[in-house]
Symmetry: D3
């Protein structure tokens, strides 16, 4: 037969779905229909550029080759309909969780995290969230819209309730959002300085990790829609992932890469490296 192949798998994610303990899938959703491709094309670009990565992490001293991880492609979602798109993601994440595997979601915009959080909450009622982001994402609604990238963590709070969400690196939002967080989430503004103690608090509890890559400073990650200067460095992020390596992680996502704005390719290289590290602490 013909010996051809497709580059549709992330490097080192070579296992069959059945054998795998961690399952990566993409949610190419950005809620805009008429613009030059945005975060919608991140999963495809990440898979291509992942071939510039080594499978070994000197940070964790772990190698992708030692774990069972699969990449099942992207969710086939109805274009231009937010609710159906979220439904499609939920169906996939429920199936993965039902098969006792851990979901690793690649966005797409931040809203795609919501259905995965819902699915995990059903399986783990004591679910907590660690949230890395430049923005609070805590609005009650955005221009009247309840389901938005700017409200996603507020919607997660609707599900989980108070003091289940730990936010890190936050440096932009309205005064109201920051005030609201005082009573409802545990927020570490600007950096990751309290991550170590948060990890201690969360010991043994089921945790979902959601990384909006714009938590990074635009100097290292310019490939995103709304650059917010004053973010953390790549080293701080890599160190943060290392700190979380003994958590009971039950799922994770990496969102908001917008390849069109990544003219140098550096932002996609950043995304690939973060995905490798996150998949390793999920799998171990």
């Amino acid at each position: 037969m013909l010996n051809t192949y497709s580059t549709s798998s992330f490097i080192g994610f070579d296992s069959n779905y059945e054998d795998s303990t961690v399952v990566m899938f993409g949610a190419p959703f950005d809620g805009t229909t008429s613009f030059r491709p945005g975060t919608r094309f991140a999963p495809a670009q990440i898979r291509i550029d992942s071939y510039g990565l080594e499978t070994y992490s000197p940070y964790l001293d772990l190698d992708l080759e030692d774990f069972k991880i699969s990449d099942i492609g992207d969710v086939d979602m109805p274009f231009g309909n937010t609710e159906k798109a979220l439904e499609a993601i939920k169906t996939t994440s429920k199936a993965i969780i039902g098969d006792e595997k851990k979901p690793l979601l690649i966005g797409g915009e931040h809203l795609v995290s919501l259905p995965v959080i819902e699915s995990l909450y059903n399986a783990y009622p004591d679910l907590h969230i660690i949230h890395f982001d430049a923005h609070t994402d805590l609005r009650e609604d955005y221009m009247g819209e309840k389901l938005s990238h700017a409200t996603v963590i507020r919607r997660a709070h609707d599900i989980l309730g108070d003091n289940r969400i730990y936010q890190f690196g936050i440096r932009s939002g309205t005064r109201e959002e920051f005030k609201w967080s005082n009573d409802h989430t545990i927020m570490n503004k600007f950096d990751l300085s309290t991550l170590e103690s948060a990890v201690k608090n969360l010991s043994g509890k089921p945790v979902y990790l959601t990384i909006d890559l714009d938590v990074l400073d635009p100097s290292v990650f310019s490939g995103t829609g709304t650059p917010e200067p004053g973010g953390i460095t790549m080293k701080e992020l890599l160190n943060g992932i290392n700190i979380m390596k003994d958590l009971n992680l039950v799922g994770a996502d990496v969102v908001e890469l917008s390849p069109s704005f990544d003219t140098s390719g550096v932002s996609t290289a950043v995304a690939c490296k973060v995905i490798r590290e996150v998949s390793l602490i999920l799998a171990k």
Copy 2:
């Protein structure tokens, strides 16, 4: 008093509203709320970069200084609500037409043309349209949505009826759109070769000119959301404007510049030059 000023007027559009015969206004609408600035910021960028332009056109042997043109800024439109945004544009264009002046609209996305066409149709029931574009824009709906940049000319047809719309430079669309155009519009695919005869047919009739700048080849105009190779050259467009100089133009628009994608500044320079030429044939 303080001798400061703002750069919010296009070069040479120095008249008061009251004195002017042509009135430029911006419609910074792109229907997307969460993305890096798109066509929404075109009017502001065009005003800034217009200062690289001479006021004299050697193509038409006319000078902006000899005409009464005003730039009244941008329509203040409710963010995130398409219908109210179109309503706001309509209010402005009706007022301009009511004052017996000619509207010159700067987009934003192509949908902004629609309320100006409606307003002009009320004043000129025999209105015709000349439409320059890469795309047919003739869908009945786009993802179920009737008001879209991809349906705008179909909506214009709803108002004007058959054989009132002359389309030029069209090179992309579904098979259905091209078929539909056979019975309902007068389409010149790929270039402007029949423009001269169209101008003859339209002699004396009230004509609205709508220029989607992506009618140009991406080699000269890359600053747009969906590059469609195989377009006309800048010279062909300038020549086309010259051909229309004796038409009874009652209004015009220039749309779809997206400054974020114009890293070299060339696309904005193109938009400025097209606006100068169009304003001159409107004003004379």
Copy 3:
């Protein structure tokens, strides 16, 4: 089951291999091992960006949906070994031809054309070639190397012999190459002006079409390794493909897109559109 998918097929190339009359495959080869991704990643990028394309061609009045075309992915080629890479391409192309289908190859650098030409020559001893390029590609060797992107048409001549190769758009090479072509190939420098008469000469004969996209002017196609100003326009190329629509084409390739140098995305959009048009004249 999980309803996921991969974006690894070109838009509209939805048939099974068994049903298809035209088979697209990629040859992600660029003979360099240590550099930022070059033409090697063109097939993957082309598949992603093809989703910005309509399936209908107004140039040919044909629609991809009416034809049986498959996209079987990329040849799995041994990295870093030119001869084995060419062998792998040859195996694939022989299988396709053996199944009485037409190969449509996506490069990769121009050298990838050679094994397809060899395979087709075995099936069609009267094979002729139409070659679009900025460069002669007629060197006997390049830095002592016989198998190179700069020698590929000379190697094709080794197989086919004199006056079987029609070259168009050529504008760069050594004096020796241009002289050599006088006796051995039929060369149309700078443009496509003699294409129509060439097509008449070739009527009924089996023809392979190889398009090095740098035949286009760098104004419209800058995404390539060696920009050579003075090329043809996109309209000239589209018109050229139209002229060839009644040839007995038995295979084709489109090569030398280098996505890393295509910061605006325009070059990839050009490649996608050329592939759509070529696949339609192959399939009809």
Copy 4:
């Protein structure tokens, strides 16, 4: 009436001139007449892009909405004549100071600071300066020219005398400039490490803050004429502004953004955020 507006005000600077305590104005001067727009267009670009900013600062826990700040546009300055340009800036700054308001100047090149310093010195004979920059700006003349962006702090010293100017982040200059500074200014090379103690020394004294944005490392601020690697991070700058929040600031400027070199938009986002923070510590 027509409900249009201009985008010529910085976000949140909505007060009337009469009511305001802080007055922002632009000085679009770059002393070059024949080149693609440089720092001259920074004020206009900053106003446009400021709409991507929140009005609330989580760094200072202050909101622009709680202060009276106006944006009076740009100084109308005679093109191509340095002395008249500086005179025009001086006239504006004297009027603002005379009305007991604080000037906030947006450059243009660094030379625009000089007339504001002169005006403030007349009102506050004990004026001191805090100067953030990559370059010493201490030359006696530059190519024979006494008024230059490379001499501006030396000219400020002509007015204020010894030990009134505190320089931070300096990392480039001639050996003579560094030597001269030993006896005449208080220089903190490379970073802001002595800022806290300087603020103590300056307690109660009238202070002018001048920020040449190239004090930042080019990794976060590449949109400037002469990138000088080894600068401070955005976090260090934001922290530095916070340290100065209880100073008796009587005026400030932010200079040297060159939008043409800011292809990613990140540098303009940096400038906007710095202006928000500086305006808040000026106004409180």
Copy 5:
């Protein structure tokens, strides 16, 4: 001895000064002192990138290897003083002309042509000029300055008088400049359509050719300070050079490449190819 070399010669310009008939030299002058490098660095960049060029021209069927051309480097000019800079260029060009060789000047901004024209006028009192440009360059002064890139052709007219200057491709200027040209120069607006007849008129007369590369459309030549859409194509320029091949050319220049704005490298490739073609028609 050490077998090192410098890349400071244009490809194929390998002759000694003494042996050569054509002498290339650079004038890295752009009259701005404080900005990111502009046209000042064009000669150096052109020499580097010339190594991507073949020495053979298929347009002229001539090869650089058959002619005696030298590249003597750049004029060592006093920085920041326009008059002395022009004096330095004049000294060099006079020496070359005195040695009965033809000068080929590489800019720098257009003003650098003036001293070469003066030198040639002294040697050839019947000197004529062929001028390719987007701009008239005919102002009496620019912001009060008589020596400027915007006045250079007016200054050349001061020397040569009426009807000695043939202008081609002109598409931008004030109304006054265009009017003035009616009585004093021979202007072909927009394109090269009358070049053939001009060449006939100039048969046998000594002619200087000055090419401001912005005569090209920005689609192919974006690497310049003031992009002016609507220019000629590369093919038109190459054809124009071919038309002039039998003129009695006594010198030439190629000016206004600004490498900082040439992010793709295409503009520099254009400049190199134009220089090759011009040097060949000068040398033959």
Copy 6:
């Protein structure tokens, strides 16, 4: 005579070869023959852009003007043949060392370091190496090739043996490479934290310093083939050079700038500044 010059020397490297104690030379080698210019053109670009640099270093309080440094241009190396290219570099470095001068090599890719190390080892059998890099470069072979940028430090180990090579900033490689380094080199992963103690150990010993600029984070140095996020900052690198200022350095190199990927010019500015600092600690 004609007062022209070439810009082929690095700023401040003005001495004759005979007088100099440090000799800079370029090795424009990148082992690829068919691609858009890579590291091969770094030496030429570095020389041009060095003119944006001051000769005085405030970090070291030293000025290039006080030292005897020459720039002898680039090694003239046979294109397309790795072994001969290395031979040519070796000949040059041997001559420099034989004349009791210190070689300062500018790459080109990292492999160019090898012949300089061999030459120095012959002169200094106790030679040690300090190696700054993102990558281990310790493979036994790369795709079967023993001489490669990915094996260069392994080849250096073949010469020097165990525990002579100190590696810093390393963050990418295979698990095997990292394991191998445990027994054979002294590796400081991720940063320079042990540099100070290494310098103490190396006191008095002859040391070669090899800096692969990709040791820097891509935020400050994106102009390289394989961006590896998580690197050191420019300040850390400058501080590291300062720490080494009393070592017995006998030679050094700075490699892997790829100007084609440096669209902002920042990476080349970084390279120039590093070369100034390294040359000063070599010369003092």
